[in-house]
């Protein structure tokens, strides 16, 4: 894997954990385009020292050699990662336009996905079971509509989106820490699978452990990459809401799934809708927003009992015994019909033996 000179300069700069983001940007502007790096630093001694102090200056000077850089690249290659720098042609345009684009994205997987039309789907880790079904439904339909999805690496909604999109390969998972330290560890296997079929990126080098403050910062990448973002669930105070804030700042299209009164994991999304986010209760809402014609799917045919169940659920999620009451059917007759509706993607589980609709149906 070859990098050009500008890319190498950024990789070199990004290797110093001690240096702040804005200083790195400034140093890049200062040093770019000149051939002799070491001499260049010496020439700019005063400004470098004022920004980084004496220690920073000597660190840069001592590291400004070919062996340091070669060693760095070798480690990258060994980790199976490709660095996409601000100077790379592969760097996503949308992200570059944001106020603080990462200098470098370290990536494993299919880099071509970065030039696709990307849509973000995020949600809280602790969501209602029904929210997970909703996330899955949206993810499947949006991939079908031609989007590549961006999301985090967490459990809950993130994992559900990844699983839904994995088969198509159109998935970008953005990790908060380095790619050898995916958080939470229980998702490491899933993320490996993403690296194989889709793409995993991080703004940190392979071995960096994620610190708590990395997560909100990571969310700016998801927002930055995406044309629009769907918030599936989230409390008022949650990481998910950070992503929404970034969307507003960056002028991204923001969609949110509505919840009924009193559902805690829906207070955040409802607040977003109040502030003007697009209400999305069906994937078509998003697809039509972007003018994507839904592919003519063969129409789902429902049996009589399935129709009755769907009608019963229109008032909200119900316990199976309540459905039995409403429809006058036996519980075990309902069980098979509900499983069929789950397979057809219309109904999802919402707690113990409780089921609800996962999208608006026109019947």
């Amino acid at each position: 894997m070859k990098y050009d000179e500008r890319e190498l300069l950024i990789i070199w700069l990004d290797s110093f954990k001690e240096i702040e983001y804005k200083n790195k940007r400034a140093l890049y502007e200062m040093l770019v385009g000149k051939s002799d790096l070491k001499r260049n630093i010496e020439l700019n001694e005063k400004s470098v020292k004022s920004a980084l102090g004496d220690a920073g200056y000597s660190l840069l000077l001592n590291s400004a050699n070919q062996s340091y850089l070669k060693d760095n690249i070798a480690r990258l290659n060994a980790a199976g990662e490709r660095a996409i720098t601000l100077a790379s042609s592969a760097y996503p345009e949308r992200l570059k336009e944001t106020p603080e684009p990462p200098l470098c994205l370290y990536a494993r997987g299919n880099l071509e996905l970065l030039s696709d039309e990307i849509f973000g789907i995020v949600g809280s880790r602790k969501s209602l079971p029904l929210s997970l079904s909703i996330a899955k439904d949206f993810a499947t339909e949006l991939v079908g509509g031609g989007f590549t999805l961006a999301t985090g690496t967490a459990e809950g909604v993130d994992a559900e989106v990844i699983k839904a999109a994995l088969n198509s390969g159109k998935i970008i998972a953005v990790s908060a820490g380095g790619l050898n330290n995916v958080y939470p560890a229980m998702n490491a296997g899933l993320i490996e699978e993403v690296a194989r079929r889709g793409l995993v990126i991080s703004e940190y080098r392979e071995d960096v452990k994620p610190l708590p403050y990395f997560f909100p910062v990571r969310n700016r990448i998801i927002a930055g990459l995406s044309a629009g973002v769907l918030i599936v669930s989230g409390k008022l105070q949650s990481g998910t809401m950070h992503t929404a804030e970034y969307c507003v700042d960056y002028g991204r299209d923001l969609f949110a799934v509505p919840y009924s009164v009193g559902v805690e994991s829906g207070t955040g999304t409802n607040a977003l809708i109040k502030r003007g986010a697009c209400l999305a209760d069906s994937p078509e809402d998003i697809l039509s927003f972007y003018g994507i014609e839904k592919k003519e799917k063969e129409e789902t045919i429902f049996s009589d009992i399935e129709r009755e169940i769907l009608a019963a659920l229109k008032g909200g999620a119900l316990h199976i015994e309540k459905i039995a009451e409403k429809t006058g059917k036996n519980v075990y007759e309902l069980t098979s019909a509900i499983t069929m509706l789950e397979i057809k993607g219309c109904v999802g589980k919402n707690g113990i033996n409780t089921y609800g609709l996962i999208r608006n149906l026109e019947m």
Binding site: P129, M186, I320, E321, E333, S336, A337, I343, I352
Partner: protein
């Protein structure tokens, strides 16, 4: 003069003949016992000495040697007391056995006052000894009930050593035990728990019926206090009636374990619920005396593991092989024995460590990682052997006060019996009894899926993310549901319902 008296020792569920030889010599007075006996056997000489004295006989001051043959076999327990006492009396000339009583087998422990106490394993010993050709037995009266189920032999029950002496010498013969009818009387099999008292829980009840009908293992997932234990306790009451053979098998195990408590026969399906601190030996059986464990005591019944993830991993893993084979082979220094262990495994667990995951009323405070860790305590291979997983509802107050009775266990049992008969008919040449026992070969043979069913399964994989390992479990359960509905071919609705009980 040498006396040879026949007795029996236990090895697992079979009796092994042990002859007690007693010889009397001149010399310093002594009482020696040889022949690999444990402490209880060695101590028996003191019980025997007192019992003889207190029965009005005496032991001459001579050198008495008793040998328990075969000498290489380790013998344990106190059931040889009676044989030893009779041997000593014969050898010292205190008793002459009349001709009719020559080949009698003696079992029983002696008290110092000469009365006879119960022995363990009388039923299996009698069965083995009759196969070996013995026809006459004297046993303690406390074991009378279990012995009455054995036919083809003359069995006498005595209360004391003097009764035995009078019987053997022909002075006052004992009454033969009247054989009990060879059937399990319904009056004996009345269970404390009944499905009629379980309120609500329609889904769980249906799943239980399927599990019992097809012999499937089942796992309840539900918050604390939702009645998982109550449901599990109802399982024996809806299981098919015990056949006489099954009852005898189970009684043998209880007899060996010394748990019969004067009961003649175990006519109720056993329900065993070992605490989660139980060691794996307590579960599988073993120890120095090779006692049957909880899984064998649950033979033909239910093994209930409450709070399943709390059991130690090794304990749970030891269940895998018996669940597959229906027997457990216990190997210890004392030997190797096989105990039957064919049971329905019923487990219960909380949905998460705090117990409130998915609850409508309380918020779960666990992180997804904690939940995953909690669930991972039950290993995949073990979960593979549990065909049905069911979420148990929280009980609502209105349901508790509801006085309307639902279906009774007896009504459900009628249907279960019918479904079991269908399976017995189907598998009569396959050496298995229930749908849950089916292997790949039988699944292919008896569970042909229509094109539509295959399609449903395929869709279920794709949209519900089923693991391929779930396939045979789902098909087996679908087969049972089809049997309950009296269908020869598995229908789509059966597959769908089975998918709903999937174990994820």
């Amino acid at each position: 003069m040498i006396a040879k008296i026949q007795s029996y020792s236990l090895h697992g569920l079979t009796g092994v003949p042990v002859s007690v030889e007693v010889d009397v010599n001149n010399g310093l007075p002594a009482f020696e016992i040889v022949g690999l006996g444990d402490a209880a056997v060695k101590e028996s000489k003191e019980r025997v000495r007192s019992a003889i004295k207190n029965s009005g006989r005496s032991i001459p001051a001579k050198r008495i040697t008793a040998n328990f043959a075969p000498a290489f076999l380790k013998k344990s327990g106190s059931a040889f007391d009676l044989a030893l006492a009779v041997g000593v009396l014969c050898a010292t000339g205190g008793l002459i056995i009349s001709n009719g009583n020559a080949d009698t087998v003696f079992l029983g422990e002696l008290s110092l006052d000469g009365s006879l106490r119960s022995a363990t394993g009388v039923l299996p010993i009698l069965i083995s000894a009759i196969t070996d050709g013995y026809k006459s037995f004297i046993i303690p009266k406390e074991n009378l009930k279990e012995a009455s189920f054995v036919c083809g032999a003359e069995i006498y029950a005595a209360e004391s050593l003097s009764e035995v002496i009078d019987h053997l010498s022909g002075l006052k013969p004992l009454e033969k035990i009247a054989p009990a009818p060879h059937e399990v009387s319904p009056a004996l099999s009345v269970y404390d728990s009944d499905m009629a008292f379980v309120k609500g829980q329609a889904v769980a009840k249906r799943a239980l019926e399927i599990a019992v009908s097809g012999g499937h293992n089942i796992l309840f997932v539900g918050a604390p206090g939702t009645g998982k234990t109550m449901l599990a306790k109802c399982i024996p009451s809806i299981m098919p009636d015990m056949t006489f053979e099954e009852a005898i098998e189970t009684t043998k195990i209880y007899s060996v374990a010394g748990l019969l408590d004067g009961e003649g026969i175990v006519a109720k399906r056993p329900f065993r619920s070992p605490h989660h601190t139980a060691t794996s030996v307590a579960i599988t059986g073993g120890g120095s005396s090779l006692k049957p464990g909880e899984i064998s005591l649950a033979h033909n019944g239910v093994l209930f593991l409450d709070e399943m993830p709390e059991y130690s991993r090794t304990t749970l893993e030891t269940l895998r092989q018996p669940l597959e084979d229906g027997v457990i082979t216990v190997s210890r220094a004392a030997g190797t024995v096989k105990y039957p262990a064919n049971f329905i495994l019923c487990g219960s667990m909380n949905p998460c460590p705090c117990g409130n995951y998915g609850s409508e009323r309380k918020e779960c405070t666990c992180t997804p990682a904690q939940i995953a860790k909690y669930r991972a305590r039950i290993s995949g291979p073990l979960l593979d052997r549990i065909d049905i997983k069911i979420d148990v509802d929280e009980v609502k107050y209105s349901e508790l006060t509801d006085t309307e009775k639902s279906e009774t266990s007896a009504e459900i049992r009628k249907r279960v019996n019918r479904t079991r008969r269908i399976q017995a008919e189907r598998f009569k040449n396959d050496g298995i009894k229930t749908n849950a026992d089916m292997r790949e070969k039988q699944i292919v043979k008896y569970c042909r899926l229509s094109e539509e069913c295959e399609k449903i399964l395929k869709h279920a994989y794709e949209s519900l993310g089923l693991s391929p390992r779930a396939r045979s479990r789902i098909i087996k359960v679908a087969r049972t549901i089809a049997d309950m509905d009296l269908y020869d071919e598995i229908q789509p609705q059966h597959v769908l319902e089975a998918v709903n009980y999937r174990n994820v």
